[in-house]
Subunit: 207 residues, 2 copies
DNA sequence: GTCCGTATACTCTGCTCCGAGTATTCGACT
DNA sequence: AGTCGAATACTCGGAGCAGAGTATACGGAC
């Protein structure tokens, strides 16, 4: 289980092709109009690379090469039966399990000891601000889409992001307050450590 | 603002060197004993590559090359003043802002329409199970560390992950129930769409 | 005393991925 | 009629990253 899988963009490509044959540029356009580019990293470099790989693995195949007027050629692809199974399995893995990921902020937290506590409190408060901004952004997007008659089901990714950002916000705020009030075990040590360092630096400067 | 930064591992490397000069392998060992490898992707291939880059950018420098017995040479690095500023700025960015990331599950959600609803409900429930498992795992790790006298401050990354996994779990469970009960707008359409497809396939088979 | 596993300390290779660039055409506006 | 910008449809090169591989040394078991 948990087979090695590559770029999720490859899955999105195959998902497009389950609807009908397409050429890569059209897939990109489709994903953008559906707002899927907000959930799946999309850029041309990767797109054509990923299509190449799928072709090699026999999960998609060329259907035809069309030229319309004097525009560049468009290579239209379609999905193979093997591709269909792959979509099924891959998607099942994405929806049925949870892979450990490495968010940037988590990296930051694990290293925050390097900065002085006062600074960290300040930064965390800043972050809370940005998270609130993001929340209103998401609310605006969701409201706009709902207003345009998009069923809520198609906004699940947005709702998901909203839920996580909200939790993130609560956590960050709480952490800032816990450091500030020294309620959190270890903070007094941290503060005195950085107070000493500051003192040392001042002493070094006087020499 | 929001300058392009590379692998967070580079930050961890510099963070290690703010304490004292080290050779790469020792950095890896240090991070592992501190459990930072759970928050920052660490593997030797990347480590040496990242050190190389930092060297080129003048953020760290060689201090000495030691050979102990007939073991391989160890190159010991130290951080430069430019490196110190970089650590400060980078860490401030990680703690003070929130970058949009692309979790796998979000990709899955944005494509779930290609699977039939019953299947999705099943998968989501499976996921809820895994998330619960992860929660107990995290609780166990936190409890063990606390038992060993590790101050809670040093477990902030764990607490963070716990908070997010918890929110994720609640969301996933809720979504499963909303699809099941057809309370969510768009689900009836989705169900009938897949019922039709199934019907089409059956018809196609009969030919 | 020698055998096995683990720890030390990297090195190599190949693939992935990204951002920027290119060339053409169409439509709108002046 | 001419031009400007947006849309179409890719191409390219190089950095970055992961995973597996390599070679030596040490410590304990039998």
């Amino acid at each position: 289980m948990a087979k090695r899988r590559g770029n999720p963009l490859a899955l999105a490509v195959m998902a497009c092709l389950t609807e009908r044959p397409m050429h890569p540029y059209e897939m990109a356009a489709t994903m953008r109009t559906r707002g899927q580019d907000a959930s799946i990293r999309l850029n041309y470099g990767s797109l054509y690379g990923v299509v190449e790989t799928l072709l090699k693995r026999g999960l998609i195949e060329e259907q035809e090469v069309v030229r319309e007027g004097r525009r560049p050629e468009r290579t239209v692809y379609r999905i193979t039966p093997e591709g269909r199974t792959e979509v099924d399995e891959w998607l099942a893995e994405l929806l049925g399990t949870s892979a450990k990921e490495f968010p940037q902020f988590e990296a930051g937290l694990s290293l925050m000891g390097v900065l002085p506590p006062v600074r960290v409190i300040d930064l965390l408060d800043q972050r809370v601000g940005k998270l609130h901004e993001r929340l209103s952004e998401l609310d605006a997007i969701i409201a706009a889409a709902t207003g345009n008659g998009v069923p809520r089901l198609f906004l699940a990714e947005m709702d998901y992001e909203r839920a996580l950002v909200d939790a993130d916000c609560v956590f960050t705020e709480q952490l800032a307050r816990d450091i500030e009030s020294e309620r959190l075990d270890g903070v007094t040590f941290w503060k005195s450590f950085h107070a000493d360092r500051k003192h040392d630096e001042a002493a070094a400067e006087e020499k």
